[in-house]
């Protein structure tokens, strides 16, 4: 079997060693809980739920690692969502995430707790942190995972990741290195039901930090001004074929309670901001419905909506490749069909009110 051969080869060669190994590991799944301004990022809680499922199968512990300034109240939430233990590090220099401060404290905690598994959300900060820590600890890291399994008899985590724009699935493991580190995409694992009556321990972990250890400074954080198309349920997307008429798409999106996006050409032409670009070099979305107007259907774009539940495509060209990636195909002019659809939806709402 290919895997056994690989493993054998790996064990027989003199290879890089992690700071602690399988023999020293604690049978525990650690989850990095990211917080900003005193509220927890959703993906951390999703990972607590998944960590709980994986740990319960093998009788391991789930430990949440929580860093920040005056965020002790969040420990209760972590326990309610499935943590047996919360390692809490509070320090004024942990107020904002910087890899200087967080990297040092998280590494200290990992060296003390020696968990077999360490998980974090594949958020900008999660990737920033684990990418650095994996090198510091000489550990294996799987990134942007879409599934995780813990093999009961070996304690090895198998991570599923995608590559090539989602076209290829790979299973990756780091059988001989600890901790087994992974970042996981937000939204992959369902959030558990919080149980306020759950018991758990809070362990105060002392963060050894001083100003002179930090070089990077967060000058300003602005949240709420940007758009987040990854959470939108109804997405109306325009391509070159709509000639910059995004007002019409906006009206339809409003009627659906959704938002608008674009392919690259209208962004390059300045019709719409780059933050709304969908595709391989933009945002990858998973809406319930994507309505795609005047888009030819190049691969670089299609990967951005391949996880949509339903795709509706409108294009004047019956040969447009986009139709091959759509559930409902309309050969016609978006400038006629989109306003008609907006009217129909508005009328429906009035009638049903």
């Amino acid at each position: 079997m290919a895997r056994m051969a690989l493993l054998w080869k790996r064990l027989m060669t003199e290879n890089v060693k992690s700071l602690f190994g399988v023999d020293d590991e604690a049978k525990a799944i650690w989850v990095f809980l990211e917080q900003m301004g005193g509220s927890l990022e959703g993906v951390g809680l999703e990972l607590l739920a998944q960590g709980r499922r994986m740990a319960d199968d093998v009788g391991w512990q789930v430990v949440a690692l929580l860093l920040g300034d005056q965020i002790g109240h969040l420990a209760k939430e972590a326990i309610a969502y499935g943590a047996d233990e919360v390692w809490l590090a509070e320090h004024s220099l942990l107020k904002d995430y910087t890899v200087d401060a967080y990297g040092g404290v998280v590494c200290d905690a990992l060296m003390k707790g020696k968990p077999s598994v360490f998980l974090a959300g594949a958020t900008p900060n999660g990737r920033d942190l684990l990418g650095r820590l994996a090198v510091r600890m000489r550990a294996g890291l799987t990134a942007d995972c879409t599934d995780l399994r813990l093999i009961a008899d070996t304690g090895v985590v198998i991570s599923e990741v995608t590559g090539f724009g989602g076209g290829i699935l790979a299973l990756i493991e780091a059988p001989t290195h600890r901790p087994q580190m992974s970042t996981v995409r937000p939204g992959v694992f369902p959030l558990g039901e919080p149980d306020a009556s759950r018991g758990g321990h809070v362990i105060d972990f002392q963060a050894l930090l001083s100003e002179d250890m930090l070089q990077t400074e967060v000058v300003e954080t602005v949240v709420g001004a940007g758009v987040d198309l990854t959470q939108v349920e109804a997405l109306v997307i325009g391509g070159r074929g709509i000639d910059g008429n995004f007002d019409m798409l906006r009206e339809l999106a409003d009627a659906l309670g959704g938002d608008i996006g674009a392919t690259r050409p209208p962004v390059d032409d300045g019709y719409i901001k780059r933050e709304r670009q969908i595709g391989q070099t933009g945002v990858v979305c998973r809406p319930k419905v994507a309505i795609v107007c005047g888009v030819s259907g190049a691969f670089h774009f299609v990967v951005g909506i391949q996880d949509a539940d339903t795709v509706i495509a409108i294009n004047t060209d019956p040969e447009a490749p986009m139709f091959e990636f759509a559930d409902y195909c309309i050969v016609g002019d978006a400038a006629e069909i989109v306003p008609a659809l907006t009217r129909a939806l508005t009328l429906e709402r009035v009638l049903s009110a």
Partner: protein
């Protein structure tokens, strides 16, 4: 004041839509795929060249991969980069991010006195996004990831980056030397300059280093330096779409779509 010395890490990748899996051998079939510059790395190169335009200095390209990369990498020279360093050795093969970042970091050390290292946010083939922080850790220097705008304060030898975070952004200051990962699609890469292009593909613009030319620990490169193994590989199940055509007047179509939307939302 010495000029800014900038390195951009770039990778050549197979076009994603042309890669398949040989399910029997569990290997990627890249044979039939054409190669391209990793699209996010083009954003990194653009930000680096823009830095050179604004503040002066030099921009070199660093890559690790097989010799054929030298057919594609000169595109970066034609856009305005100065020189290419290609780390190419059979011993580098089979590297995961730990071994890759070590090898690239040793390449950066050999180039010497580098102030800024720009990387794409992630590669289209592996999509791990772990290379930029990994390089920064091996070199023990600072990092700002997911940057969509960067300015330089020469007096303080600091860069100020605008970093994308969910639903907003952050302004982050850090001293040089530093690694910057550039958020995908944060700029529009320039076209090749037809005046430079003829000289871009000349051999003296590429320096190739093998393991023996570099100061590398054999236990930290290639397979021995990689903690992870790929134990399974498969074509992702492609989603079957209905491809149902709806005809009629715009009003007919609108009513039918309204029905579908009500059902699906």
């Amino acid at each position: 004041m010495p000029e800014l010395k900038i390195v951009v890490c770039m990778k050549v990748v197979p076009k994603p839509e042309e890669v398949g899996v040989d399910t029997e051998t569990m290997r990627l079939d890249r044979e039939n795929a054409r190669s391209e510059m990793n699209p996010p790395d083009m954003n990194a190169l653009e930000m680096a060249l823009d830095f050179k335009d604004r503040y002066g200095g030099s921009v070199d390209i660093l890559s690790m991969g097989p010799p054929f990369f030298s057919d594609i990498l000169p595109v970066g020279l034609a856009m305005g980069a100065n020189h290419i360093y290609l780390l190419s050795d059979r011993g580098f093969g089979g590297a995961d991010t730990l071994a890759t970042t070590y090898t690239l970091a040793q390449g950066i050390r050999k180039i010497g006195d580098v102030d800024l290292i720009f990387c794409g946010e992630e590669s289209s083939d592996g999509a791990t996004g772990q290379v930029p922080p990994g390089i920064a850790e091996w070199l023990n220097i600072n990092q700002i990831t997911m940057v969509n705008r960067l300015d330089y304060d020469a007096k303080r030898k600091m860069v100020r980056g605008q970093r994308e975070i969910p639903g907003g952004h952050q302004i982050v200051d850090t001293p040089l030397p530093s690694v910057i990962s550039v958020a995908t699609a944060s700029n529009e890469p320039r076209f090749m300059d037809y005046r430079i292009k003829p000289s871009a593909f000349e051999d003296d613009r590429i320096t190739t280093w093998a393991a023996k030319d570099m100061d590398v620990d054999p236990g930290l490169i290639g397979e021995p330096g990689s903690p992870t193994i790929v134990s399974g590989l498969d074509q992702a199940p492609s989603r079957e779409r209905r491809m149902e055509f709806i005809g009629g007047t715009p009003e007919d179509i609108a009513l039918k779509l309204a029905e579908i939307l009500e059902d699906r939302l």
